[in-house]
């Protein structure tokens, strides 16, 4: 329960902080819109030449895009700002302040920052997803919605674990800011279903950078492609990643010597 109280407190502080800068909302909205327009143009171009891309129809790909935008918003709203702050603090040696607090350090470093304006992307993604579902002839049933909900939570947790491990790398090599660039690039690949990529890239996007789990699999849930076996597999892999990332974090923490103390 403490965990949720802590998260709520930080969420409120973060939200109040961001609400000071309302002009940023307009900017963020513009950025989201431009990204959306670019994505839609890409989709439209592809479908002037063909009627299906690797077995996915136009409205199904729109659903993938919706999930991609939504998940991207969640990552930039919650995961990425926290990890960026952690990287900075490891570099500066100011992580001491977080470590000396009477809470689990991993929890603390994971909930301190929130960028609420990124909510625009989350909302936009949801809208796109709903439009896509509306366009699909089949529609979606209750069971699909449940599958989607589970898949999206698992996907988010996997991305979190992945980010945490990347960031923990900061304990050994302090210059890791370009990692964000690297992740952004790879995340872009999730705009299309990973099935279209060659084997080596698909494997990378599934197990090394869990973009497939975060975007393609939730999208498979709403397009009636997801099997219970895959979902179970995703669950096992999520647990595995969570345990692994916590272990890596603990080992990394021992590496940290601080600067102010």
């Amino acid at each position: 329960m403490d965990l949720f109280r802590l998260m709520w407190k930080f969420f409120r502080v973060g939200a109040m902080n961001e609400l000071q800068y309302r002009a940023n909302l307009v900017l963020q909205l513009l950025q989201s819109l431009l990204g959306l327009v670019t994505g839609l143009i890409g989709l439209a171009l592809v479908f002037t030449f063909t009627n299906d891309l690797g077995g996915w129809s136009r409205s199904e790909l729109l659903a993938v895009m919706g999930v991609h935008i939504m998940m991207g918003g969640v990552i930039r709203m919650t995961i990425q700002p926290n990890m960026e702050r952690l990287m900075g603090e490891v570099e500066d040696g100011t992580l001491d302040y977080a470590l000396t607090k009477p809470a689990d350090a991993q929890v603390l470093i994971s909930v301190r920052e929130i960028r609420i304006w990124q909510m625009t992307d989350v909302l936009m993604g949801v809208i796109i997803l709903l439009i896509a579902i509306d366009q699909m002839q089949a529609g979606i049933g209750f069971i699909h919605a449940i599958g989607f909900g589970i898949a999206i939570v698992l996907g988010g947790l996997m991305i979190y674990s992945f980010w945490l491990m990347l960031t923990t790398g900061a304990f050994w090599i302090t210059q890791v800011d370009t990692i964000i660039q690297l992740f952004d690039g790879l995340y872009q690949a999730g705009r299309w279903p990973v099935g279209i990529y060659p084997d080596w890239l698909r494997t990378t996007l599934t197990f090394l950078v869990p973009v497939a789990f975060a975007v393609t699999i939730p999208a498979e849930a709403v397009t009636d492609r997801l099997t219970i076996q895959v979902l179970a597999g995703a669950f096992v892999f999520t647990v595995l990643l969570l345990v692994l990332s916590r272990t890596v974090w603990k080992i990394g923490l021992r590496q940290y010597s601080g600067a102010s103390a």
């Binding site: 431009l34 143009i41 030449f49 891309l53 690949a189 705009r191 299309w192 279209i196």
Partner: protein, 267 residues
């Protein structure tokens, strides 16, 4: 003249040394950028195969070639961004540069030119891997390669000048982010970076013809792929020259007015 050349060589050496200091960082950066063209490449190859081999006049192998050359052009296209300009002005760093006896344009140009040699050296192994993986179809001829080298540097100059000119907007307002983003989106779509321009509808292609973007991006790529006749190639050089001159003219006109508005805080 002689001292200008010495200045250029000096700054170029400086940037080469600086950039080789962070090889890992530079590589991560470049690898992160590789994801974008690979995505386009795979998507369009899938489309080409679904259509039985070609799309918009490109076979699957030619699409691979297009996007592999793309990676070099993209790296050559990185210049001083308007965001860096914004930073410079907001933090007052420009005042230090104004004190030097030469125009800051020279310093930036020399610095980025030097950096490009580092970029090209680091690009070669990446290109080798991409060629092995994606099997591009390309017929190189000596003439096209030579023209490509010129077009590549010409494209760098076009983009350098225009971005520098755009960045000067920051003299008047410190909230120009929105303008930049709009500009970059149009550039992305109409330069040949997003897709080869021949994939676009005709009206979009004719708009692209009136804008500078394709001369910095799509044009050099298509030159080395052998898609342009010699006359067209020379026309391209001329267009690059025109746009560089337009950029320089804007810079010359706006610079004085801009600097007189600039007041720095702190130093």
């Amino acid at each position: 003249m002689k001292s200008t050349i010495r200045m250029y060589l000096g700054y170029m050496r400086l940037s080469i040394l600086q950039q080789f200091q962070y090889p890992v960082r530079n590589y991560f950066y470049m690898v992160g950028m590789i994801a974008e063209p690979i995505i386009y490449l795979v998507v369009w190859q899938t489309v080409a195969r679904a259509r039985g081999g070609a799309v918009g006049g490109f076979t699957a192998g030619e699409i691979a070639a297009y996007y592999i050359v793309w990676t070099l052009v993209r790296n050559m296209n990185i210049v001083l961004t308007p965001y860096a300009w914004e930073n410079r002005i907001q933090r007052g760093q420009l005042s230090g540069q104004l004190l030097r006896p030469i125009h800051p344009l020279h310093i930036d140009l020399a610095y980025f030119t030097g950096w490009k040699f580092v970029v090209i050296a680091m690009w070669l192994p990446i290109a080798a891997v991409l060629i092995l993986v994606f099997q591009p179809a390309i017929q190189l001829s000596l003439g096209n390669v030579a023209a490509f080298v010129i077009a590549l540097w010409g494209g760098f100059l076009v983009r350098f000048m225009l971005q520098w000119a755009l960045g000067m907007l920051s003299f008047w307002t410190t909230r120009v982010n929105a303008v930049f983003q709009l500009y970059f989106t149009i550039e992305l779509l109409l330069s040949g970076r997003f897709v080869p321009l021949s994939f676009l509808p005709d009206w979009a292609q004719s708009i692209a013809g009136w804008l500078p973007f394709k001369w910095a991006f799509g044009y050099p790529i298509e030159v080395i792929l052998g898609r342009w006749s010699p006359q067209e190639i020379f026309f391209g050089f001329a267009m690059q020259a025109v746009w560089v001159l337009i950029g320089l003219a804007i810079i010359a006109l706006v610079w004085r007015a801009g600097v007189s508005r600039f007041s720095s805080v702190g130093n």
